[in-house]
């Protein structure tokens, strides 16, 4: 994890408060700035006013799910290159394929260890 990524801002999009808090804890402990959104719509609202360097997105969420959010981001010139890590508990191959088709940068299954999360975030930030 280099110095450049240490100051990066990460958007967490997940409707489950425990996930929001644990991911946020791990990332802030390692120097990242964190924004949290409870679903896709909240994420879009937040992105319109704040710059983020990468997003960690759940799939199943109310209002707007993660795949719809991902498709919306990829259709928006401002966010077409935003690194997006899909993090889901579904574990189904169809979700992985759908996420890759929608333009996910990486796909992780819950549960994910802190080490794997940090490693993946560092990788997507470093391109």
């Amino acid at each position: 994890v280099n110095q450049q990524t240490m100051t990066a801002t990460i958007l967490i999009v997940d409707d489950y408060p425990v996930i929001q808090r644990t991911l946020s804890h791990t990332l802030t402990k390692h120097g990242y700035e964190v924004h949290i959104a409870g679903d896709g719509l909240a994420a879009l609202a937040l992105l319109s006013g704040a710059a983020v360097d990468a997003a960690i997105v759940d799939i199943a969420m109310p209002e707007m799910d993660g795949l719809t959010l991902l498709q919306t981001l990829r259709a928006d010139a401002r966010h077409v290159d935003l690194p997006v890590i899909i993090l889901t508990a579904s574990g189904q191959d169809e979700d992985r394929m759908a996420a890759e088709a929608a333009g996910a940068t990486r796909f992780l299954n819950k549960p994910v260890s802190s080490h794997q999360l940090l490693e993946t975030v560092a990788e997507v930030l470093n391109g």
């Binding site: 425990v18 808090r21 644990t22 804890h25 791990t26 802030t28 402990k29 549960p111 994910v112 260890s113 802190s114 080490h115």
Partner: protein, 519 residues
């Protein structure tokens, strides 16, 4: 830069400040110890009123230390003696909010640590699944721990039978001697140890920065361990806890692997013994007569059912060449069971056959003479191993039956249409005394008379509730079966004793010889 508690609880603090503004305050806000205003809200334009305003403050504390203060500026008209009390209460509320957040952050950290430990154990279990050798498990441990913590080198070691075996990921940064010393040090300490490479004598000549050594004890005595070398940032409490958790798990898997290997070795040994016992049983079965001899005027049947693969019971027939009206019969029971009894049974059989043929040739063949001669030769060998053999020997001719019993029971005679009676043994078993003290008993047989000679495996057979089959039951059965042919009597006896045992394992060999004079 980490988010400050003031920023994190911006909404709640703003709500408190706005409540003050609504109550007539000119300004309300919080500020950190340096005096820098963290958040401040005020209403309208700054007051042009020349009247002096009242500034109130209350400290916000965390863990006994001031982290900031809340303040309000009140016009004189709004100030009263309750204002400071209310502000103090607000400060306490914010303090409690910060403390609760702090507790939640600590708990979240512990949750993440526990979560990471569980995932690591899961990963380790997955990667160690189906690995049944200690070396494979050490390999899995070194790989998982090394990758998980991103160390320069991970070495998983174990000492078995005086030999140190190990696996390294990716390559060892310390030599084998240093690794061994480190593992022993951790075992001596009874816990994990962390070392600074530049200050520790053990590894001072190495170029490593830091070391974590976690001991693994298998079955309370066998030593194993994990040595992690050079982690950027060193080894803190979360890393030590994580490594402790996965090495504990690996220790359990190593115990299972050892148990599996031992079970496998035991199973192989058992299989080999079983095979040898099967061969022994086949040999012993071949030693028993394969057919029932034909003798004029006598219906004969004999069978043996060993309790284990091989047994110490035997029966045998010796007939003179070209003779169909004379036969010598034996039924013996060597003390004990299994292979030792079977070996002595084979020896006894050979001896009895040899003595019988020799006596037949000399024209002095009587059951007593056979057993006396055999005892003379067997005595030393049986005494040497502390065993003996009960023996029933009989010679049948057209004149009747002559028999002797060396400690053998039961010997039952059931005259045609009469009541069965038990013959007592007339001498101790063979191998007990140097001289055979038995004598020949003569029995003139009538058509339909039945003799049943069995081993104690019949009368001592146990039912599931511990009752014994017993002689009386056997006598009653013989009487009820006496009308049947010899083979049918034997079959009915086996059926009856098997039913009596009620599925309990057969405790002793069961051998029977049935003689019935033909009508």
């Amino acid at each position: 830069m980490p988010t400050s508690p003031f920023q994190k609880h911006h909404k709640q603090i703003e709500a408190i400040a706005r409540a003050w503004l609504a109550a007539g305050a000119l300004t309300a806000g919080v500020r950190v110890p340096s005096g820098l205003t963290a958040h401040e809200w005020c209403v309208g334009e700054p007051s042009q009123d020349t009247l002096p305003t009242q500034m109130l403050t209350a400290a916000i504390n965390m863990g006994g230390h001031g982290v900031g203060e809340i303040y309000v500026e009140l016009p004189p008209a709004e100030y009263c003696h309750h204002s400071q009390m209310r502000l103090n209460t607000d400060a306490q509320l914010i303090t409690r909010l910060f403390e609760a957040e702090d507790e939640l952050t600590t708990m979240t950290g512990e949750l993440v640590e526990a979560h990471d430990q569980l995932i690591a154990i899961y990963d380790l279990t997955e990667s160690a699944r189906n690995r049944i050798s200690i070396h494979e498990l050490l390999n899995a441990l070194a790989h998982v721990a090394g990758r998980l913590l991103g160390v320069g080198s991970a070495s998983a070691l174990a000492q078995f039978n005086g030999e140190l075996i190990g696996s390294h990921y990716p390559l060892p940064l310390l030599d084998e001697r240093d690794l061994h010393v480190l593992m022993q040090s951790a075992h001596h300490a009874g816990r994990s140890i962390t070392l600074d490479g530049r200050s520790n004598n053990l590894i001072r000549y190495s170029v490593v920065e830091n070391v974590l050594v976690e001991p693994i004890t298998i079955r309370g005595t066998l030593q194993a361990g994990l040595v992690l070398v050079d982690r950027a940032g060193g080894f803190g409490s979360p890393e030590i806890k994580l490594i402790h958790a996965i090495t504990q798990q690996m220790g359990a898997q190593m115990e299972n692997a050892l148990l599996y290997q031992e079970s496998l070795a035991q199973a192989r040994l058992q299989a080999r013994i079983h095979t040898e016992m099967e061969v022994a049983q086949r040999v012993q079965t071949r030693l028993l007569p394969q057919t029932t001899p034909r003798v004029a005027g006598l219906d004969i049947f004999a069978a043996s059912r060993p309790a284990r693969e091989v047994g110490g019971d035997m029966f045998d027939f010796v007939a003179p060449l070209h003779s169909q009206d004379e036969i010598v019969m034996f039924l013996c029971d060597v003390s004990g069971k299994g292979m030792p009894a079977a070996l002595l049974m084979a020896m006894t059989r050979t001896m009895l056959r040899a003595k019988t043929k020799s006596l037949m040739a000399s024209g002095n063949c009587t059951p007593r003479a056979i057993l006396a001669d055999a005892n003379e030769d067997l005595y030393d060998d049986f005494t040497e191993v502390g065993m003996f053999v009960t023996a029933f020997a009989a010679r049948y001719t057209s004149k009747g039956l002559v028999f002797t019993s060396a400690g053998h029971s039961p010997v039952i005679f059931c005259p045609a249409g009469g009541t069965p009676r038990l013959f007592a043994a007339d001498a101790p078993p063979l191998g007990v005394l140097t001289d055979y003290l038995g004598f020949d008993q003569h029995l003139a047989l009538q058509p339909g008379d039945v003799m049943v000679i069995a081993t104690d495996g019949f009368v001592e057979a146990s039912s599931p509730n511990g009752a014994m089959f017993g002689v009386e039951r056997l006598l009653g059965l013989v009487q009820s079966l006496a009308e049947r042919p010899a083979a049918a009597i034997a079959q009915a006896l086996y059926d009856a004793v098997e039913q009596f045992q009620g599925g309990e394992p057969q405790a002793d060999d069961q051998t029977v010889l049935i003689l019935k004079t033909r009508s």
